[in-house]
């Protein structure tokens, strides 16, 4: 039953990703008709969103693969997963502010149910915390969207028309509109100090949902910042750049320090996401300086690569947990003896995550640093220290969990042998390596999206 239903859904996914590849070929704005009260059903992708659409399609296939053995209420589970994908895809391809908000909210209910039904531990608490944080952010975002739409001349919610439009500050000061919009995305990113929902949600979510949460949903925050406040209020955004850089540095270092102290495998990776999303913020902050293009490209690439890498990390953690039924690092030892495939997967993911050259993460972080270093040297130095810390916590974790003497307790545990497990891991590793070795294919696409934004930012 599970298999049959999942297979049907998997078929749907495939079609979804086939379409996505067509988008890559076009990467132009697509106008899909108009309707309604000043709200258009306007979808389209540019260089920044198209890679995230690609990422979404890939990670949802992976999420389906790792959910292959869901036993409880599988039909509902995959239905919610698909609705979630609809919402995320919609966010990445909406070019109308109200439509964007609609898709942004679509994602809430499936996530709430996926965590609170199929999760573990304090799942109700975590699911509610996730929803309330997100709604609080998105509520402010709605106020910001309405204020922005009505302050623009001519009035519009069309993101293309709003680019470079005159925004008056009669209704609200521009900085207030910027902060309202920024708040919604900052919660999602998550930005310190609004990050506390993330570890809870991750810890208690099922594996596939963790993969989606870290891999795709967090990117909605970063993407939103670039797409809406930065693109539509470029001057205000520049004024805020130093603040963004400062918060980014806090995110990176604080996230990394907290990660070092985690004893739960999933919480560790969750906090590492907080730290890594700081790099996205740092890249965005580069708009305040001369190397805006590099910084924004870095931020976009970081979103893509972090999605892959953290997705892979959560897949591996999920595989480990399926077998050991514990996520407590202290209880695990020498797992590599029993499950070499999982161990190698985890090592690859960790190396990629700490930014080893030839892996995807390296290029993204390099670009972010190049973009930000000139204008904000101090936060950049802190961010580099963050890399060292991340090397520390990742390698330490790998060493504790997988290496060392074999533990009798774990003898006889099977390695990842099912085809769907291996396919999920292999596809992610392949893409990580491909991006690491040949990043310019992606960076070129991203730049198509960024260059028009630079003109809006004025200069460089």
């Amino acid at each position: 039953m599970t298999l049959a239903v999942a297979a049907v859904l998997f078929g749907l996914y495939d079609r979804g990703s086939a379409e996505v590849f067509q988008f890559v070929e076009r990467f132009t704005w697509i106008d899909a008709g108009t309707a309604g009260f000043d709200v258009q059903y306007l979808l389209g992708v540019d260089g920044i969103s198209v890679i995230l659409v690609l990422l979404t399609a890939l990670l949802f296939v992976v999420a389906t693969l790792v959910s292959w053995n869901i036993e409880s209420r599988p039909r509902e589970y995959f239905a919610w997963l698909l609705l979630l994908e609809t919402g995320v895809m919609g966010v990445f391809s909406s070019l109308d502010l109200i439509l964007f908000f609609l898709f942004w909210e679509v994602e809430l209910v499936p996530m709430f149910l996926l965590i609170s039904i199929w999760g573990s531990g304090r799942k109700q608490y975590s699911a509610m915390k996730f929803v309330l944080y997100t709604i609080a952010g998105s509520a402010l975002m709605l106020a910001g969207i309405l204020a922005l739409g009505f302050s623009a001349d001519p009035r519009s919610f069309d993101m293309i028309a709003l680019r470079g439009a005159d925004i008056s500050s009669d209704l609200l000061p521009l900085s207030a509109i910027f902060l309202l919009l920024f708040a919604g995305f900052a919660v999602k990113l998550p930005m310190f100090p609004f990050h506390t929902w993330l570890p809870d949600a991750h810890t208690d979510a099922p594996t596939a949902v963790s993969v989606i949460l870290a891999g795709v949903l967090l990117k909605m925050g970063g993407y939103g910042i670039i797409r809406i406040p930065v693109s539509l209020l470029p001057d205000t955004a520049k004024d805020f750049a130093p603040w963004i850089a400062a918060v980014a540095a806090v995110n990176i270092v604080y996230g990394a320090l907290v990660t070092l102290r985690q004893s739960d495998l999933k919480r560790l990776i969750a906090y590492s996401s907080v730290s890594h999303m700081g790099y996205v913020l740092l890249g965005v902050a580069a708009i305040g300086g001369g190397a805006a293009q590099v910084g924004l490209a870095g931020a976009s690439l970081q979103m893509f690569t972090h999605g892959l890498i953290t997705g892979l990390l959560f897949v591996m953690v999920g595989l480990v947990y399926d077998r050991t039924h514990t996520r407590d690092i202290a209880q695990m030892r020498g797992l590599a003896h029993h499950m070499p495939f999982i161990a190698s997967g985890m090592v690859i993911a960790s190396l990629a995550s700490l930014g080893l050259p030839a892996m995807a993460g390296f290029w993204a972080e390099l670009l972010v640093f190049l973009g930000a270093a000139q204008e904000f040297p101090a936060p950049t130095i802190l961010a580099v220290i963050g890399i060292l810390l991340s090397a520390g916590y990742l390698l330490w974790m790998v060493q504790r969990v997988f290496f060392g003497a074999a533990d009798e307790r774990w003898r006889g545990l099977p390695d990842a042998t099912a085809w769907w497990e291996q396919a999920a891991v292999a596809s992610l590793v392949a893409v990580i390596l491909a991006v690491g070795i040949y990043p310019s294919r992606l960076v070129d696409v991203i730049n198509v999206g960024i260059v028009p934004m630079l003109t809006l930012l004025g200069g460089s």
């Binding site: 039904i117 309330l132 309405l146 204020a147």
Partner: protein
């Protein structure tokens, strides 16, 4: 005079049907008419006939004022006539399972339901203070009786409380009307061709009447605030919803509120729509909206009883709708706020009906409406739980339900009127509301049920709640027809 009687057709048909049901229950021997569902079908036939007549009226273009301008068949009244008829039809369908519990009073229940509906429809069409008052009494008194119809202590308390507070509200309204009459010398809200009217008096802009007018505005807003269940006149709502029979509570939660908003649109938007007085009452409604949302949501957070939760949520929702009233005045396109009210009201009505019917389908079977007893209801009563959860999602204002469009639309109107402070209070309130709405949904879907015993459902109740929820979904995905209707209704002035 008589040639205009056809424009009252929908209301008259309902009254005739109400009289027939009452008499048939008395005259026909024994239980041959009472009991089973025959009374319900009779009421439903009356509503169907009324709907057909209303459609014919709309198609034959019989719009315009009549009875010397005391009544008006215009887009606003047509919108509300269809809304009230839809409500009545759904409530009758949902009551067929429940109504035998009224015992000997079953006929009276349907009778007063039809009378209350026709009164609300008359109210939406009245353009004269006296006609408004008569219609208001017709619908209010029928509702007081309905609230106390169930022979339990709780219902008796609810009915009495509703009656006493309602009587006070009526007195306050009457006083406000008397002041308006005294200031203008006429009871007509608007009148063609320079005849004396309240709007005309206000438009002649005699600053001397301003202070008297302000008192009248406050009194009327207070009195109708009771009907709409907004703070500070909201105290009755949770008690009455909890105490009254569930179909009655469902009806009161939407009919009383809709009637209140319909008449407020008539009196304030149409009768006092002139610019200089607009500002006075719009700020009043803005403050009431902010307070209602906050108080309603805060109180709903701590409720452990589903019906009381819905009661407090309806107070908060009334606050949301008042945002639209506040947006009328300051807007340069005055119809946007009024259209927002009409659209929000229509979506709220069907969402709340769906939620109440689902609660009825669950609570009356398990004999409890405590939230704790709803644990795991998704397993025991999957369909009822799905409808309830979907309606809760809509009340929260999340897509794809109609509540999302309504929320965006009404805050859109407020932002349009430079009421950003109200928008921000409103959106923050939606965070509060998400907590208690989704907590109830979460309890049904994630908690372990105390027993696995399935909860059966009657076909009629299931049909009523499914129709309501389907309407919410359809409007959520294809909102344009309803938005257009709301905009036409709001354009009576332009």
């Amino acid at each position: 005079m008589l040639q205009d009687l056809d424009r009252l057709g929908p209301e008259l048909i309902l009254m005739v049907a109400a009289g027939f049901i009452l008499l048939a229950g008395i005259v026909l021997p024994g239980d041959s008419f009472r009991g089973r569902t025959r009374t319900g079908w009779a009421a439903l036939s009356g509503i169907a006939a009324s709907i057909i007549w209303a459609v014919v009226l709309a198609l034959r273009d019989r719009q315009g004022p009549f009875f010397g301008g005391a009544m008006s068949l215009d887009n606003l009244s047509v919108f509300f006539i269809f809304l009230f008829l839809g409500v009545a039809a759904l409530v009758v369908i949902a009551s067929m399972e429940y109504a035998p519990r009224f015992g000997r009073n079953e006929g009276e229940f349907y009778c007063f339901l039809l009378l209350a509906t026709s009164g609300a429809m008359l109210l939406a069409g009245s353009r004269d203070l006296i006609a408004i008052f008569v219609a208001l009494e017709l619908t209010s008194i029928s509702q007081y009786v309905m609230a106390g119809l169930l022979r339990t202590d709780r219902a008796g308390e609810a009915g009495l409380k509703y009656l006493l507070l309602g009587a006070v509200a009526t007195a306050v309204i009457l006083y406000g009307m008397a002041l308006l009459y005294g200031l203008s010398g006429t009871t007509k809200l608007v009148a063609p061709g320079g005849e004396p009217s309240i709007l005309g008096t206000i438009a002649s802009a005699d600053p001397g009447i301003r202070s008297g007018l302000l008192v009248a505005i406050v009194l009327l807003a207070a009195g109708f605030g009771f009907k709409m269940a907004t703070v500070p006149f909201q105290m009755w709502a949770p008690d009455v919803y909890q105490g009254a029979a569930t179909p009655v509570a469902a009806f009161l939660s939407v009919a009383s509120k809709s009637a209140g908003f319909a008449v407020v649109l008539r009196i304030f938007y149409e009768g006092m729509g002139d610019a200089w007085v607009n500002e006075d009452w719009s700020i009043l409604f803005g403050v009431l909206a902010a307070v209602s949302m906050t108080v309603g949501n805060a109180a709903a957070l701590v409720q452990t009883n589903v019906k009381r939760l819905l009661g407090y949520s309806s107070i908060a929702q009334a606050g949301n709708m008042m945002v639209g009233l506040a947006a009328i005045a300051a807007s340069d396109e005055t119809s946007l706020g009024a259209a927002g009210v009409a659209f929000f009201l229509a979506t709220y009505v069907f969402t709340n009906l769906g939620a109440f019917f689902a609660v009825q389908a669950i609570s009356d079977r398990i004999g409890s409406d405590e939230i704790a007893d709803y644990a795991g209801m998704a397993r025991r009563a999957p369909w009822q739980a799905a409808v309830l959860a979907f309606c809760l999602v809509s009340l929260t204002g999340l897509p794809p339900a109609a509540g999302f469009v309504a929320k965006v639309y009404i805050f859109n109107a407020a932002a349009h009127s430079d009421l950003m402070w109200l928008v921000i209070i409103g959106v923050l309130n939606s965070v509060l509301s998400a907590f208690y709405y989704l907590r109830l949904a979460g309890v049904m879907y994630t908690a372990e049920p105390a027993t696995e015993e399935p909860v059966p459902i009657a076909v009629t109740t299931g049909a009523a709640m499914t129709i309501a929820a389907a309407g919410v979904l359809v409007v959520g995905i294809i909102p344009f027809p309803l938005i257009e209707a709301a905009q036409r209704a709001a354009n009576i002035l332009v």
